[in-house]
């Protein structure tokens, strides 16, 4: 039904596009590394002065003890059930609307740490990037997030209610 010539052309388009993409990526400022950086719980950004980086549980605790601001990027209900002691709530999807109210009065040179519900969740990353754009000079992403903090027994606040067992299937 679709002869070989068409398949060959398709393959050439894909290969050609891929090569072009890699070339374009290599020469531009917004280029990204070919291998995504490690995000496991033990990933730590070595350089202290970098604007945006990851911290593991130990790093997050150290920043907590040093008075850094923690930002919870999860939903309101999750935040109310339990969050890192002193953390402010800023749902990742509400950043544009709520940022001024939540972090507007904070000095931009203060270290800010974002977290959400663990390695699988990218809200902390999204909020961190927004924070950098907003003007904060030192933002850290605590990827291991709430589950790791709670499991370690570190300071927390919240109602302590259990999460509902089943969510809806996601059909809006």
């Amino acid at each position: 039904m679709i002869e070989r010539k068409i398949w060959v052309q398709s393959l050439m388009i894909v290969i050609g596009s891929t090569l072009l993409a890699l070339l374009f990526n290599a020469v531009r400022a917004e280029g990204i590394p070919l291998i995504a950086p490690d995000r496991s719980v033990s990933a730590e950004t070595g350089d202290e002065d970098v604007a945006l980086g990851n911290v593991d549980l130990a790093g997050a605790k150290a920043l907590f003890d040093a008075g850094a601001i923690f930002i919870d990027a999860r939903s309101t209900a999750e935040y109310e059930r339990g969050h890192i002691a002193g953390a402010v709530h800023l749902y990742y999807a509400d950043f544009d609307v709520k940022a001024a109210e939540v972090v507007g009065s904070m000095p931009l040179d203060k270290t800010v740490v974002s977290y959400c519900s663990g390695e699988d969740c990218n809200s902390s990353d999204i909020v961190a990037r927004h924070l950098i754009d907003y003007g904060f000079e030192k933002v850290r992403i605590f990827f291991a997030g709430w589950p790791a903090w709670e499991a370690a027994g570190y300071p927390k606040e919240g109602s302590g209610e259990a999460a509902p067992l089943y969510g809806d299937m996601g059909v809006k």
């Binding site: 679709i2 068409i6 398949w7 993409a21 291998i35 749902y91 969510g167 299937m169 996601g170």
Partner: protein
């Protein structure tokens, strides 16, 4: 009668250009901001981390190429074939995210209702329709009204399935 519809050059041209425009629009932001797109891909939890950036770079550029080629009518059937394959991929990705209760805007498996942005079944319907539209062009396009033809360089109309 069906054959006449399937091979109708007007329909094929409309499908071709429509699909092409859609791909270019879709690809534009993704080509310009690969970092943001790789987060978006990661939110589906389907591509292994080691391939994530490679995928996030290759896909948008492929979409851009397919879009341009469909509009120009260059290697139309091959571009439409890639389009069909991509749409199948997207449908699988959306369906698995829906089934797993994934919030595709952040990659979280949140149990809470109301605040998250989850997948609308309408997207699945649309993408399935696009699979069929792409296959239609891939199978039956005859190269009429391609840019080359319009420029008068090539007067031939390709017969499909030769």
């Amino acid at each position: 009668m069906t054959r006449a519809i399937l091979e109708n050059d007007y329909v094929l041209a409309a499908l071709r250009v429509g699909l092409g425009a859609m791909f270019i629009l879709a690809a534009w932001d993704k080509v310009l901001d690969p970092a943001a797109f790789s987060i978006a891909v990661d939110n589906y939890h389907m591509v292994p981390r080691v391939f994530l950036h490679f995928f996030a770079l290759a896909l948008p550029m492929t979409e851009l190429a397919v879009g341009l080629m469909l509009i120009a009518g260059v290697w139309t059937r091959a571009a439409a074939l890639i389009s069909a394959v991509l749409m199948v991929m997207f449908v699988i990705g959306l369906a698995q995210a829906l089934l797993r209760g994934l919030d595709i805007a952040c990659g979280c498996f949140t149990q809470d209702t109301g605040q998250e942005s989850k997948i609308s079944p309408l997207l699945l319907v649309r993408d399935t329709a696009l699979i069929f539209g792409s296959l239609w062009v891939a199978l039956f396009d005859r190269g009429r009204w391609s840019v080359l033809n319009l420029l008068g360089r090539s007067g031939t109309v390709e017969a499909p399935n030769t």
